[in-house]
């Protein structure tokens, strides 16, 4: 057994424990040190993921791999954790002596996410999924004194438990059919002469359980409430990393296990994708709270990315990874802008964003770039990301899906542009003094905007890297 397969997982767990120790040892007034340590730690992990990613596996009797695809997803999670840490640097001050725990939980959740990307065995997958979700629940409820945050935490834990139950129910059927939890063994039953119907039944429940994690319609109900109630950096982490983890699992399971179950399961995925695009985009229109709006937008984006999963090819997975990456940077930009602004205005309502451009052109510009990327307007990255996804769909001959996705992206433009209008065209209400943003947030904002534009203008090198890694 080559333990280097687990390099990154071990690294993240060690970071979590280091943070735990630091949090215990540091005096109450110096808890900020944990934030510094977390930022350095996640940064180091990111470097390590390129410099010493470890062996490809398989590890532990084929229960775990660290192949190119898994590694790419892990890099996305680490990047997400790193950016969210920078974003939460100042924000976490409000947690006072709990500040350390915030980053500890993030580190352990990260271990869970990596597990979801690397698992090739349903039991490992389940454990990883819980390892990811439980810290996220606590993070959601982290603002102890805020009613909405606590409410969001309770909702999340209940619905998360329900989705786990669904997943476990499905797994029991898969185990019943194959006598094993390994993806390979289950896939073998499907191609062989075993009791196939049994496995298909289980597979549908597994799909439902994972759809909950990526917030695909009709398993999306939790996300707007929880996105709204959670502290903004946690919302960003949920929207970006936890969704990416769901896709990491789906990208491995769907082609190997679910697609061979027959065309019916693919139809289910197409249904999930279409409903997510339609419901997500239409429901975003009447929203007045920016976090809820971004929650519905992220439901819609799950729909677009599910299209890349549905085609079940390596090129499709590459397109999903690219889209996740641009979705990550755009969302980090948007949520950082929201965080910075709510610090000033004390509100998450879209109407409170009026005149942002005038009060801080920099913040406004970054927010606009992020929204344009989500809307799919070039030169921001969203356009080329959608192109990568939809080209794979078109190659399958499903032009109506392409048409639906394009129609829905026109709908989405309506609400993104409404926000842009509030930022640019409307005059500030009341206070119109210019505002200053902390330098660290500025760095995060600038990095996200530059990355968004670069991913849109020079997509070639990144896409080639992703394709090479996936093989």
């Amino acid at each position: 057994m080559d333990f280097s397969t687990l390099n990154l997982e071990i690294g993240a767990a060690v970071l979590g424990i280091l943070l735990l120790a630091a949090s215990l040892l540091l005096p109450a007034k110096k808890k900020g040190g944990t934030a510094v340590l977390a930022a350095i730690g996640f940064g180091a992990l990111l470097v390590m993921s390129f410099a010493a990613p470890g062996g490809p596996g398989p590890f532990f009797k084929g229960q775990y791999v660290n192949d190119g695809t898994a590694l790419l997803f892990k890099q996305i999670f680490i990047l997400g954790a790193f950016l969210v840490t920078l974003m939460a640097f100042r924000f976490s001050k409000r947690f006072e002596d709990m500040r350390g725990e915030f980053f500890i939980l993030m580190a352990f959740s990260l271990v869970g996410m990596m597990g979801m990307a690397g698992a090739t065995d349903f039991l490992t997958l389940y454990i990883a999924l819980e390892l990811m979700s439980l810290p996220l629940v606590v993070l959601t409820a982290f603002e102890k004194k805020a009613e909405r945050s606590t409410e969001a935490g309770v909702k999340y834990v209940l619905l998360s438990a329900m989705s786990s139950a669904i997943l476990l129910f499905g797994l029991s059927f898969l185990y019943g059919a194959a006598g094993s939890f390994s993806y390979q063994d289950v896939a073998a039953v499907l191609t062989g002469s075993g009791i196939k119907g049994f496995a298909v039944f289980g597979g549908i429940f597994v799909l439902a359980g994972l759809s909950f994690k990526i917030a695909a319609v009709p398993f999306h109900m939790w996300s707007p409430d929880i996105y709204e109630g959670a502290p903004a950096p946690v919302t960003a982490f949920l929207a970006v990393a936890s969704k990416a983890a769901g896709f990491a699992a789906l990208a491995r399971i769907f082609p190997l296990v679910l697609a061979p179950m027959g065309p019916g399961v693919s139809v289910l995925v197409v249904l999930l994708a279409s409903m997510s695009m339609v419901v997500g985009n239409l429901s975003a229109i009447p929203q007045t709270n920016i976090k809820r709006l971004l929650a519905y937008s992220s439901i819609a984006h799950a729909g677009y990315m599910l299209l890349g999963v549905f085609v079940a090819t390596k090129a499709g997975t590459a397109a999903v990874v690219y889209y996740l990456l641009l979705y990550l940077v755009a969302n980090v930009g948007a949520f950082t802008a929201v965080t910075a602004w709510s610090d000033i205005s004390g509100s998450d309502e879209i109407s409170s964003f009026k005149g942002m451009w005038k009060r801080s052109p920099f913040l406004g510009a970054v927010f606009i770039v992020s929204l344009l990327s989500l809307a799919g307007i070039p030169p921001a990255a969203g356009f080329i990301g959608k192109f990568f996804l939809l080209v794979e769909v078109a190659k399958q001959g499903s032009l109506w899906l392409v048409a639906l996705a394009m129609a829905m992206s026109v709908v989405s433009l309506y609400y993104y542009v409404s926000v842009i209008k509030a930022l640019v065209a409307d005059a500030p209400e009341g206070d119109d003094s210019s505002v200053t943003i902390s330098p660290l947030l500025k760095v995060v904002l600038l990095a996200s905007a530059v990355a968004t534009v670069l991913l849109g203008v020079l997509p070639g090198p990144v896409m080639d890297f992703i394709k090479a890694a996936i093989g």
């Binding site: 080209v391 078109a394 070639g460």
Partner: protein, 502 residues
């Protein structure tokens, strides 16, 4: 000629100026205007230069530049122009140059205004110069948000409604066109039907023999998608609101250039690659074009607001472009291509003059005016010139392409063409009627002391009016260039013959 890199210069100038402008303090108005003017001058000079260096004898693209972009997907950032696109590049740079002068005295947030305008213009240049379908499409999309912001911040008359309507109409259109592009890409990539590798290069696409049934639907997607931009009846509803609400410079760009993106894309991609699809839908286009020309001319007749008259007149005139496309012969298509240039100059001048009156009088209601010629003799004279151009008076350039379209149209759709010709009469009525009610008649004392155009205001009028006059007298060289440019497209059309949906 390739050593000069004219095309990159034309397109980089506005983008670079926009980037530099971001770092200029908003209070430095002279610097901001100077930067915009510098970019416009560079683009205009290089475009004019390219026009003179263009070799009418060579077929195909000239001044070609190639920058690899997304090699694994067969997409490349290639630039090049031919007799179809070079005049439109020149048109854009002329209107851009004129537009900078029109907005010279803008007081409200000039920095942002010019940044967005520069981005818009850069995007338009990109559309006309790209020789890769996806890049071309990307540049159309790049221009979307600047247009929205420009209308909703600096506009007038229900600006927010108009801006959103404009944006959504155009985006819905381009979404449909994009679906068409995906279909093309998937078809080309198919080893049995197409080339076996994906590409959007216009040159590579020529190697593909598209199946007639596929052509039918792909052409329809492109026709409807890009037709919104033209606009083709009944998808024109955004135009009067959008063009009237926009600030003057942007109205000039929207009517002068943006509408042409649609016509250009239909000729370049629709006619160029799907001749059989075009032949199938041609009768339908011809009928809709006739409705454009005649019906919208009547709509223009009953408008109370001067700017709405001009906006509707634009739709009516773009009908000739569609009629030329539908007739599918060398004469009519070259007429359509030249009409895009002629109408662009004319519409820009029209909007510039209406803008001048509005800036001074703060109203555009025809009924409020009367006898303005007494106070604004120069504006009045210029208005007459552009009005006569609009109704197709020989001696002004607009006559030439319209006449060419009629000539070509007669060969294919004689009845519809004859009906369309009658629009000239309707145009004469509304143009002269507006002119009479606004500039003549009893002088309204309310406008006593209204200043005539002077200083920088004269520059765009002289530039645009001069082009109409000069080309009106000497259209030969220009028309040769256009018909040379469309020759390869027309060759493919001739092989198809006629037929169609009705």
């Amino acid at each position: 000629m390739n050593g000069l890199h004219l095309l990159p210069g034309i397109i980089i100038a506005p983008f670079a100026a926009a980037l530099i402008m971001l770092f200029v303090p908003a209070t430095a108005r002279n610097l901001i205007r100077g930067l915009a003017l510098a970019a416009a001058t560079v683009s205009l000079t290089l475009a004019t230069f390219a026009m003179f260096l263009y070799d009418n004898g060579t077929k195909g693209l000239q001044f070609v530049e190639s920058v690899g972009w997304l090699k694994s997907y067969g997409i490349s950032l290639d630039l090049g122009v031919d007799g179809l696109s070079l005049p439109l590049v020149l048109l854009t740079s002329i209107i851009f140059f004129a537009g900078v002068f029109v907005s010279w005295k803008l007081e409200n947030r000039p920095k942002e205004f010019f940044v967005y305008t520069l981005l818009l213009v850069g995007g338009v240049f990109g559309v006309f110069m790209s020789t890769d379908l996806l890049v071309l499409f990307m540049f159309i999309e790049v221009a979307v948000i600047p247009k929205y912001v420009l209308i909703s911040v600096w506009g007038s008359t229900r600006k927010e409604y108009a801006a959103m309507k404009y944006t959504l109409y155009l985006l819905a259109g381009s979404a449909l066109a994009f679906v068409g592009l995906f279909a093309i890409y998937a078809y080309v990539q198919n080893p049995q039907l197409g080339l076996g590798y994906g590409t959007f290069s216009l040159a590579e696409l020529q190697k593909v023999n598209f199946d007639p049934e596929f052509q039918k639907w792909a052409f329809l997607a492109l026709l409807v998608g890009f037709g919104v931009l033209v606009p083709i009846f009944p998808l024109h509803r955004w135009t009067p609101d959008g063009h009237s609400a926009a600030p003057t410079t942007i109205s000039m760009l929207l009517a002068g250039v943006i509408m042409k993106l649609g016509g250009y894309a239909i000729i370049r991609v629709g006619l160029g690659y799907f001749p059989e699809g075009a032949a199938y839908w041609a009768p339908l286009i011809a009928v809709l074009a006739t409705i454009n020309v005649i019906y919208i001319a009547f709509v223009a007749l009953v408008q109370k607001d001067m700017k709405f008259v001009v906006a509707n007149s634009s739709i009516s005139h773009m009908g000739f472009v569609l009629l030329g496309i539908a007739s599918m012969n060398a004469v009519s298509v070259s007429g359509a291509a030249a009409q895009m240039f002629a109408h662009g100059i004319m519409a820009a001048l029209f909007f510039a003059l209406v803008g001048q009156v509005y800036d001074k009088a703060h109203t555009r209601m025809i009924a409020d005016f009367g006898g303005l010629a007494k106070y604004m003799p120069r504006t009045s004279a210029a208005f007459l010139v552009v009005g006569l151009a609009s109704l197709g008076l020989p001696g002004l350039f607009n006559f030439v392409p319209e006449f060419t379209v009629f000539l070509g149209g007669m060969q294919r759709f004689p009845i519809l063409t004859v009906i369309s010709i009658f629009s000239v009469v309707v145009t004469a009525i509304y143009v002269l009627w507006v002119y009479q009610r606004v500039f003549f008649g009893p002088a309204n004392p309310r406008w006593e002391g209204l200043s005539d155009m002077k200083g920088v205001e004269i520059v765009p009028v002289v530039l645009l009016g001069g082009i109409l006059l000069v080309l009106g007298i000497m259209p030969g060289g220009f028309m040769n260039m256009v018909s040379g440019g469309i020759a390869p497209i027309v060759q493919r059309l001739a092989a198809v013959g006629t037929g169609g949906i009705f």
